[in-house]
Symmetry: C2
Subunit: 463 residues, 2 copies
């Protein structure tokens, strides 16, 4: 496609400026990987649009030259979503990073897809508001919508899909649609918001998002509770949920992970299975919630519970939790990260984590177990030596064991990271005939398979 | 289709028993209307399946004979969803009304589509659980999922779509799929749960639902606050939401509606614009929420606020609110009900309600204004003399004025009742090119247009 490539560059430069089109090797390399172990593959070109109209023009040209398109935020994906295995053009949204409108009274914000979560929260703070979804990484909001990201606060505030009121989307036929509206609820037409969120760039390209935001809670209280075993910690979470205490965050971190945290963040948390908790509410209500929670964790053999009353200490706690993945990366130079991501009905979580722990040990791997246990979502975080095929194989065996266990219990292969290329082989097993429906939708909306081709749906590799 | 009709009856009786197939006139009449003003139209046949397999067999025969299918719960729809304007077969789900499984620890319940909301709540009470969506009418859960119903508690617990974890669906090609799983969240594949909820029988027929349920709150407090004007009441709600008080219900009822309530329910509530409120939480937290709310409503010129501490009084309050539609029907014998159903961003609600009040008066109509104002959703409830074409015309003018105002403000033509036939003409205006995406999805999944044909999507009538 040497000549074609020249032609499309020529055509792109008619609708974009010189600086917005790059075939530079180092730029291409930056867009050929994500934060995971998935192998690299470079785009032929990287473009940097500044407007929705420019995105639509790019789609038009991609159509004309039959060139694949992959949207790209900051490359924090964990299953190879943004890696252009079919090459073609990567659309980098770093120049579309404006917060367009804060509708304070409506608890809504309108942003371009390249805005990051921390950038948004910095702005919202001026209004006493915050954006709730917190996947750890400082991802772009466009990327978070594309994978239906979630994280530490989802147990209370919901996942990315719950926050999206409207998306502006460029379709494969280059038309520009809006998938929703500004109302808090609607029963009008098919739920396109929900369909496009989590579609990983395979159905359309997001050019603007209208998101729900929340008032910063009147009072916030953080806590750390350590337990003699992982199982005790998980059962304590199940009991807290049963009790109806409206917990805002509840994170499990195992002893391995706490060790990495202590090394990386220079903390000295006790190296036992630990829950990091957070409560939001009014002062009197919080006090009662905390008393009740303390009783519950003590019934589950809690070794120690510490409440962080100072804002700074509490922030340090969550910063340590959020830096966990980076702590592992930092502690294992030269290795690559593989993270499992299953989610199960809460009654099956304790069994699943025991099973995972045994599988990690029996495969001779080392890794941390952590997760958003209030949602039934946990991760095994492994650092892999990519020059050792046998180690890669064992890590993949572990991932498969964990996924199959979750599917047997009515769970899902991915709670929040998405399918990308890493979870494709489990789609048939998880969705059965529903996968045919997904394929029909893809075919109807992107008949030439130009939008992030062969992600999510791929018939070649199946378990 | 006389002969075809005989043939299909013959074929149906091979897969269903004698009692499960009816061409009886009075049975057909019961399935030819809903609770609204939309004109009647009878199905040719009504079938009463008992299993998913039987539903799949019915779809198979409908395909073979090219006969339209309309699923039917209890006929409580308000926009003609269940009326078979193309005739064919109505599938009545009254024999599929079992609560299959209560997964107490997972806060999940599995039900057949014919189970009603009150039937479910009666069972759940034994476990200390409740199902949150409360549209007033005792609708079936299948019907509620089909229209993405919501109601009084949605401001806290969300709409029907937020509760659906999994649907078993029979598709037009008679295959049986599951749209989700039992995990609290998932990023695996396209979000078919969200797509099928609200699809009004046009994409598939639901044969089983897995729904999220909640623990009955530790403490519940109800209140009634009356205001000198509708505007003051609405502005009070906006301030309560701004304040971050986690209100569980907040219903506006205007003076006309309170009058109907008093007549029908033999209550003596003061006949001024009133908010019905409810708070869920722990005792200490509630106390603080209530104090704060009282301060807020007083700033908005509240005439009187009464807290209902007795469970019985509080139940009577909500029963009165729920019976409001029936109170209007009872108070206007021989007339039919038309209810507007727009939803707007909360900052636009007060203006919208003032506009609606003026429009009602200037068109010389009488009706009540009420609604789930915490969501920005309100209704004008009109009783129409269907023998008076001029009155019908004025009512339709009102509906159109209200819808167009809502759309201009970024709202939706239907917050919770759905499109059916009543809101079809606004789909193009509301969705623009996104309607093409919906049409493509319909075409991909139901190429012969046999599933509730010409509902939601209909090109013939557009504003």
């Amino acid at each position: 496609m040497e000549t074609d490539s020249m032609n499309i560059v020529h055509a792109l430069k008619k609708v974009l400026s010189e600086q917005q089109v790059s075939a530079n090797q180092s730029v291409r390399e930056l867009h050929g990987r994500d934060e995971s172990y998935h192998r690299e593959s470079l785009p032929d070109l990287v473009v940097f649009p500044e407007t929705t109209k420019q995105v639509s023009e790019i789609v038009n040209l991609a159509n004309k030259f039959k060139v694949p398109l992959v949207p790209f935020g900051l490359g924090t994906s964990l299953e190879g979503h943004v890696i252009p295995y079919e090459h073609g053009i990567t659309i980098d949204f770093s120049r579309m990073n404006k917060i367009v409108e804060v509708r304070e009274k409506d608890f809504l914000v309108r942003v371009q897809p390249g805005v990051t979560r921390t950038q948004l929260n910095k702005e919202l703070k001026k209004y006493g508001l915050f954006f709730s979804v917190d996947p750890g990484a400082d991802a772009t909001l466009g990327g978070m919508a594309a994978t239906n990201a979630s994280g530490t606060t989802s147990v209370k505030y919901g996942v990315m899909r719950d926050q999206v009121r409207d998306l502006e989307v460029v379709l494969a036929d280059r038309s520009i649609i809006h998938t929703g509206n500004l109302a808090a609820k609607s029963s009008s037409g098919y739920h396109l918001n929900g369909l496009f969120v989590g579609s990983e760039g395979t159905l359309g390209i997001f050019t603007e998002l209208t998101l729900r935001v929340y008032g910063i809670p009147e009072h916030i209280m953080a806590a750390r509770a350590s337990f003699p075993s992982l199982n005790d910690a998980v059962e304590a979470v199940v009991s807290i949920l049963q009790s109806g205490v409206p917990i805002a965050r509840v994170e499990l971190v195992d002893e391995n992970s706490i060790r990495q945290v202590n090394l990386y963040s220079e903390t000295s948390y006790s190296e036992t299975p630990t829950l990091f908790l957070e409560f939001h509410g009014n002062e009197a209500g919080l006090k009662q919630d905390i008393e009740f929670t303390t009783e519950i964790v003590e019934e589950h053999f809690c070794l120690d519970i510490q409440f962080e009353t100072e804002n700074a200490t509490s922030n340090r706690l969550w910063e340590a939790r959020h830096n966990l993945a980076y702590a592992f990366i930092h502690g294992h130079p030269g290795k690559k990260m593989m993270v499992t991501d299953v989610c199960l009905p809460i009654s099956k979580l304790s069994g699943a984590i025991s099973h995972a722990r045994e599988a990690v040990d029996s495969l001779g791997l080392t890794g941390g177990i952590l997760g958003h246990v209030g949602d039934g979502n946990y991760h095994v975080l492994l650092m892999i030596d990519m020059s050792n095929p046998e180690e890669i194989k064992r890590a993949e065996q572990l991932n498969e064991k964990i996924v199959l266990y979750a599917l047997e219990q009515g769970g899902t292969c991915t709670g929040e990271h998405g399918v990308g290329v890493g979870k494709q082989k489990y789609q048939q097993k998880e969705h059965g005939l529903a996968l045919v429906v997904m394929e029909k939708i893809k075919k109807a909306l992107d008949p030439d398979n130009l939008f992030n081709p062969n992600k999510i749906l791929n018939k070649n590799e199946r378990v």
